[in-house]
């Protein structure tokens, strides 16, 4: 099961209700055969823009991030459940990024003038190959003039 991250924005409400909403979200995950690794509380913050959800406009929200594992086929189901919850202002499910960046930095190559860049050289090679495939009129064919429009 891959790890997912669920940024949850809850509407402003008293603490017991927040607890119950989080419990609802957590049980939905458990019911799908998943488990929770971690819950982060990012606190109450202003939303970047006023957001209307379920007919209520909210300018602030309680921010939570839930890290959980669940079989991938249940993700759309979970999204549906969270979207129906009227206490949740917004939710997204992202895959937890475990990749390690081991690609070398290519900035040096990119700062070179175009004909020295590797990707430009590749393009030049492709056009060269295409040009070489085209048939060129040969003046030695017996005709003394160029038969096509110039």
């Amino acid at each position: 099961m891959p790890i997912y991250e669920l940024p949850l924005l809850l509407r402003i409400m008293p603490k017991p209700e927040i607890v119950s909403t989080l419990k609802r979200a957590a049980t939905a995950i458990f019911e799908k055969g998943g488990f929770i690794r971690k819950i982060e509380n990012l606190g109450q913050k202003d939303l970047p823009a006023k957001t209307s959800s379920h007919g209520v406009v909210s300018r602030q929200a309680h921010y939570f991030v839930i890290y959980f594992d669940v079989p991938p086929k249940h993700i759309s189901n979970l999204e549906d459940i969270f979207n129906r919850d009227i206490d949740i202002v917004r939710n997204r499910i992202y895959k937890h990024d475990l990749t390690v960046n081991n690609k070398p930095c290519t900035l040096e190559d990119e700062l070179k003038p175009p004909p020295y860049r590797r990707d430009v050289q590749k393009l030049l090679k492709i056009t060269e190959r295409q040009e070489s495939r085209k048939k060129k009129f040969s003046y030695k064919s017996g005709l003394n003039y160029y038969p096509f429009q110039k």
Binding site: P7, L9, L42, L47, P48, A49, T51, A61, Y63, V65, V89, R90, R92, Y94, D97, N101, K103, P104, C105, T106, L107, E108, E110, L111
Partner: protein, 142 residues
Amino acid sequence: MAYASLIRNFHNFTCRVLSTSNRLVHNVSPNVWEEKHRSESDKPTFMRNPYKYKKQECILCKLNIKPDYKNVRLLSQFQSRFTGRIYGRHITGLCKNQQRKVEQEILKAQNAGLMGYYTKDVAFCKDPKLFDPNHPFRPHKY
């Protein structure tokens, strides 16, 4: 007795020198000796090109930072404070790979409601600047 021991010691000393040093060995012809020594000590030593520039790296590769959608403070440094627009590669000075990742993570943060589409958090507006949009690394397209 004293003289005898001194002579013996001298003899021992010279023996040691003869066995270790090639200079005093007679049976080696001078040409061979010269060649051998030239190959060992007179050879130019390996040295890196001192005039070669250090390889340039973008700031995220250099500091080994992985852009993350929850790290809004970092991501908003790549965003205009006036329009919320993500700056291009020619302004940010990032490598292709990192620029793509930053753009992806900004989009994720915006979708999750952590970051504005057209606005930048006022608290982040006075953060140190990583680059100057008016003096880009490479010229603007327009």
